[in-house]
Subunit: 307 residues, 2 copies
């Protein structure tokens, strides 16, 4: 195989009660990437369509992640060209950088005959995330690479668990075109939390994981709360409270901030409910005269796909 | 039915990463209780064998829990006599009060034709726990009533989830005859925890719950850590570090404080390993010249049993 074309999906990190550990993969939106073998060693990003992002290797998450893989493999003579067709907007909070970082390592790994497992690829993709956010986090790249829901149990060593997905689960995501800098979203966090809130949070995360294994949508709904991060970060997202309340009023199982925002997600049990939620969420931002993108998607159980 | 004889098992609360939410039920040790209908209304504790505990209703967890049930049912004319044969030592940290409180409500519910579900009985049994510890906690009474592993997701309203049990899982519990007052065990806790430690804890609890659903003993083992409570409480239990290290050296999947101590538990994958751990743990306390009881038990998937 000389060339591969990929679909690299958006992802929702945290999912309310799973700050820094939980993530899920979407069917839509997603980027496309073409990766091909090249005679010149290293990685060359030859084209980026749809967004104004740097082509230089060391400034692009795909380049950094891909080079991390090649360095580990000591494939110093291998060369790859990468084209990126961005549909996921950077800064939207649905894993734009993760899609590119994960896509690069997935594609290169395929073209090299799969020397690494999908779980091993997470480590390389995390290097791309480090460039994007200054933190080695895996809660977007893990679901992008493995699909479904993922739990990053530990970083040291990396321990990622693939969780099952209830078949009817749908996601709605609205991206208001407001800028929330990841640095701001980080700076509002407190270094300590009350033991009481922490207990509530781990009770909810435990319940949510049980719900995923038992297809218990009611339990899932009861667990989709975040008493720790959401109260701090939601103030950075104008309209958050109203959008969330609207989603719940239209049948969402739960709603919260996607990653560090500003996108807001809602989970629901059917496509028609998910669409209704999308329309109701959009009404809120139209009223506020804020531009938005809205997405309705099944949970993507495969992750990155070869097209 | 006029009379019922019950086996009321010991339980392990917290189970390392699940402070205040997780509990599991043991096959051994356990109390026996005889509960019979009586012509005089209310509850009379007529006999307690094995421990010096108060017979007065309002001072005994079984009386308080039983009356909570009768009050809810408005069965003001119903009367019951209770005999308690204690094998679980009060203050041991393996749910002695929970066994009595849960046993009382389970037995009375049976004799009344089961007006309440097992989950509903938890609320009444918690009233007994309130008498014993000053807190309305359910992490011992829930596994005593439901069996297996239980997750108390929320108290307001009460939301308890029954979790599956990997078939080969065994518990070893050593009870050093040292007094750790529940009040002391509570007073060493801090009101706040670092966000970093909280994330580690909910990652581990999430992983542990996944491990229970997938019979993944390795994952279970990786998750049996407590970076929040154990470092604070273990200093109240002389020999804790050595007992825990010994259990792990003899093949335990994990080891920690049972409830608020002083009992120390270890989980393992086979009866022979569980017995070996018991003998090694006992050696430590023999060396320290501390008396102890040691128990080896399967996980009890039924909870309280009618004998």
């Amino acid at each position: 195989m000389e060339e591969i074309k990929l679909f690299c999906p958006a992802t929702i990190a945290n999912v309310s009660c799973g700050f820094d550990v939980l993530g899920l993969c979407l069917e839509q939106p997603g980027d496309e990437m073409i990766i091909r073998k090249s005679s010149s060693p290293g990685i060359q990003i030859t084209k980026i369509v749809g967004q104004d992002l740097p082509l230089e290797n060391q400034k692009n998450v795909a380049g950094v992640a891909g080079l991390a893989l090649l360095n580990e493999l000591k494939e110093l003579h291998a060369g790859f060209e990468i084209e990126i067709y961005k549909n996921i907007k950077p800064g939207s909070g649905i894993g734009s950088s993760a899609a590119s970082a994960a896509g690069a390592v997935f594609g290169i790994n395929q073209l090299l005959g799969q020397p690494f497992s999908a779980k091993e690829l997470i480590l390389f993709a995390m290097q791309g995330e480090f460039l994007a956010s200054g933190a080695l986090h895996a809660d977007n790249v893990a679901p992008a690479l493995l699909g479904g829901f993922t739990l990053v149990r530990s970083y040291n060593p990396l321990d990622v668990i693939r969780l099952p997905v209830p078949a009817e689960l749908m996601a709605t995501v609205i991206h208001p075109q407001l800028e929330v800098k990841t640095a701001d979203a980080r700076s509002v966090l407190k270094h300590s939390v009350s033991l009481k809130n922490a207990i509530t949070q781990w009770g909810n995360l435990g319940g949510l994981i049980s719900a995923l294994y038992t297809n218990d949508y009611d339990l899932l709904s009861r667990c989709l709360h975040d008493e720790i991060i959401e109260p701090l970060r939601s103030v950075l997202i104008p309209g958050f409270d109203e959008v969330k309340a609207t989603a719940l009023a239209h049948g969402a199982l739960g709603s919260g901030i996607s990653g560090s925002g500003p996108s807001i997600f809602a989970l629901s049990k059917s496509k028609s409910t998910a669409k209704e939620i999308a329309s109701a969420m959009a009404d809120v931002y139209r009223k506020f005269e804020v531009d938005y993108d809205v997405h309705v998607s099944k949970i993507n159980c495969e992750g990155i796909k070869v097209l």
